[in-house]
Amino acid sequence: MIYRKPPEGTHPPNDSPGYKSTALRHPKEPLVVIPQTLTELTGPAFPYGRIETSDSDLTRQHEGEPQGERIIVQGRILDDGGRPIPKTLVEIWQANAAGRYTHRVDQHEAPLDPNFSGAGRTLTDAEGRYTFTTIRPGAYPWRNHDNAWRPAHIHFSLFGTSFLSRLITQMYFPGDPLMPFDPIFNSIPDEKARQRLIAGFDLQVTKPEWALGFTFDIVLRGPDATPMEK
């Protein structure tokens, strides 16, 4: 069993001059190609702890309702062979509706929301599905370049089936006017791959009188062939 290599242009190069923080932090030596061994082909099935229902509803983690536009984000976690990945951990974190993170270093002059922490986690079901209820995050300024603003996004962390399927990414919202100006979003060379980070507005997922729905499927590296039966 071998995991397929990601096609060229799918993942952003770590040397991405438009994103200033990469300048001193990307390796200059070529990566050393190594074979996939048991070390890489295994991975944590379930890395830690219990998961509570409130962990996947970020609007129910405090006494009151958070400010902002309530949304539902759902989707499937699949491998690149189209196989759903059941019982895998999905972690998210995000800014609040005003574009402020509950993080000590975030100095953006926007209010914190006492009713919103902005972190969630869940396990996929047998079909690889996950659902979060949260608040649509706000855009926020950063100091990468003059008048730089991050488009609204939700950070995602995925494990999948092995050390090689691990993924950290960001989900964006359809129609966000900031995307064309964002060097992080645009660091992905392949246009089609970039578009995969934009969630779809989904009227089927939208709950009447309650919350807008978005669908965001995530595809992780997977084994090249179905493993042989023992």
Partner: protein
């Protein structure tokens, strides 16, 4: 074939979402094996420590068994052994894991690999996860390790954790420039 979802950076503001209680404990006190600590510092090309990096490690238990459904090579993994560790660096760019010395696991050629840990490095300014390996400088099997032998000899030392105490090792990570850590394409 479905198109892969691309990587994006962790960004600077992740700790409220990703830092886990006891994330530095890879093996519980009850786990079999020689208890060790692995500490280190991560720096950029200007030798600035990274106060906003996330280090993840994955290793086999003392008998060389991964706690993973995908490891069918031996019977059972040590129940007190987790195998996964995740730590955010502190303001000085340092990290520390508490674990047991990993056992030897099968390599690509069927021969055993030297004891090692797989390491993933994530941070603001890193768009796609960097992957490396940590080996132990005082392990006699390093010389016969199939992966280590693929690394140019002049750079192999960047993957060897230094023994700094009876059961303590140090593994510094340099992202760029002099002493740059070897990173892998797997």
């Amino acid at each position: 074939m479905r198109g892969l979802t691309p990587f994006q950076t962790l960004g600077p503001f992740f700790d409220f979402g990703l830092v886990i209680p006891s994330g530095e404990i890879i093996a519980d006190a009850a786990a079999a094996g020689r208890r060790i600590t692995v500490e280190g510092c991560i720096r950029d090309s200007a030798a600035n420590p990274l106060p906003d990096a996330l280090i993840e490690v994955w290793q086999a238990d003392a008998s060389g068994k991964y706690r993973s459904p995908a490891d069918t090579h031996s019977t059972t993994a040590d129940a007190a052994f987790n195998g996964f560790g995740r730590v955010a660096t502190d303001d000085k760019g340092t990290f520390l894991f508490r674990t047991v010395m990993p056992g030897r696991v099968p390599g690509p050629d069927g021969r055993l690999q030297a004891p090692h840990m797989a390491v993933g490095v994530l941070a603001r300014g890193i768009l796609t996860r960097l992957i490396t390996r940590l080996y132990f400088e005082d392990e006699s099997s390093n010389g016969e390790d199939a992966v280590l032998s693929l690394v140019p000899a002049s750079r192999r030392g960047t993957l060897l954790a230094k023994r700094i105490g009876a059961d303590a090792y140090r593994f510094d990570i340099v992202l760029q420039g002099a002493g740059e850590t070897v990173f892998f394409d797997v």
